[in-house]
């Protein structure tokens, strides 16, 4: 448990914070280190770096009584991510109708041609779209899908509840969660290779 008395190990902190930010991007259809928020050009690494600087400057203050430092910083990353999504230019602009797009407008937004459930992070701000995206990533991973389906459709919360619902050991739930996280982060990379 980190506290204000013990100085943080910044190498570990940066890795954990950036990994969390990458997961956040991946969950919203933007996997991989090169992914950026459309129209803003902000990457997972940028968000983690910004929060880390704010913490180093004392603008984000950690009190041991309020929980682990990493939780505080990850919450800050998550809030910044959603705030950035709300600010993203594509949220303010009308996305052109794909059917009406043609060669007359060579500068048309190419995002409009892509599958919105995969590429447009705005749709992921809907929990149903979020669920659909995560399940789509796991089309060929039945064991991982099971965990997601238990969480999404059976409304189970704790690992022990998931284990009970699926009839598997709790340790297996933890294993699958780790695989799931990794699978999601590398999803697009795998598909493109």
């Amino acid at each position: 448990m980190e506290n204000t008395q013990r100085e943080p190990d910044f190498k570990s902190l940066i890795r954990r914070l950036t990994a969390f930010a990458l997961r956040l991007f991946a969950e919203h259809g933007m996997p991989g280190a090169g992914a950026v928020l459309p129209g803003l050009g902000i990457s997972a690494e940028d968000l983690a770096g910004k929060v880390l600087i704010e913490y180093c400057q004392g603008r984000i203050k950690h009190h041991a009584s309020k929980g682990a430092l990493i939780t505080l910083l990850c919450t800050a990353v998550r809030n910044d991510f959603y705030d950035a999504l709300d600010r993203a230019p594509h949220k303010r602009e009308q996305v052109p109708d794909r059917a009406n797009e043609d060669d007359e407008n060579p500068n048309a937004d190419l995002d409009a041609y892509a599958d919105p459930s995969l590429c447009n992070p705005v749709v992921a701000l809907d929990d149903e779209k979020y669920q659909a995206y995560v399940l789509k990533c796991l089309e060929d991973e039945p064991e991982l899908r099971e965990v997601c389906e238990a969480v999404f459709f059976l409304d189970v919360e704790k690992p022990s509840d998931i284990a009970h619902a699926l009839g598997i050991p709790v340790a297996e739930v933890h294993n699958r969660r780790k695989k799931l996280q990794r699978r999601l982060i590398e999803y697009r990379l795998v598909r493109l290779s």
């Binding site: 890795r15 770096g49 600087i53 965990v147 969480v151 690992p159 933890h174 799931l180 990794r182 590398e186």
Partner: protein
């Protein structure tokens, strides 16, 4: 107002789902984080170097204003200082020397494995093939002799 509330509700719902699926952020330890970074295509030492640059740029603003660095910023810069950066004091110099020697020792440990190579051999598997004319066999024999000559030459060069 309604839009803001909807956005907030969506954030909360997704956060709840995410934490149920993946667990609390505290569950990502440093080792797992390193694996996840690699899965996303990020090199950890390069990431640390880039973060150091970001922090260094922030520190410059304090130096320019002749203000003391906040303690956490100072600690972060010390933790992330690249080993390739010039040493600023004897401790850093000793640390860099230690790292260099450790790298050399690690490389030296690999040498025996690298030196235990086997000389390449030529397998005459073609002899089992059917439907070979005499001229085919002649061509193959020539190629075989040529290769064996080259292999002998490589072997002699390695002995030197």
């Amino acid at each position: 107002m309604k839009k803001e509330r909807n956005s907030r509700e969506a954030r909360n719902k997704i956060t709840k789902l995410s934490e149920r699926l993946f667990g609390d952020p505290t569950e990502i330890d440093a080792d797992e984080a390193t694996e996840l970074l690699a899965a996303a295509g990020l090199n950890t030492s390069e990431l640390e170097d880039r973060m150091y640059s970001r922090l260094y740029n922030e520190a410059q603003k304090y130096w320019m204003n002749q203000e003391p660095l906040p303690p956490l910023l100072k600690k972060a810069l010390a933790d992330l200082r690249p080993t390739t950066a010039p040493a600023r004091n004897e401790n850093e110099l000793a640390q860099q020397a230690k790292s260099s020697i450790e790298r050399l020792v690690e490389t030296a440990k690999l040498l025996p494995a690298l030196l235990q190579h086997q000389a390449p051999t030529f397998a005459t598997a073609y002899r089992r093939k059917g439907n070979l004319t005499d001229s085919d066999k002649e061509l193959i024999e020539e190629a075989k002799s040529d290769l064996q000559r080259k292999l002998r030459k490589i072997g002699n060069d390695n002995d030197i």
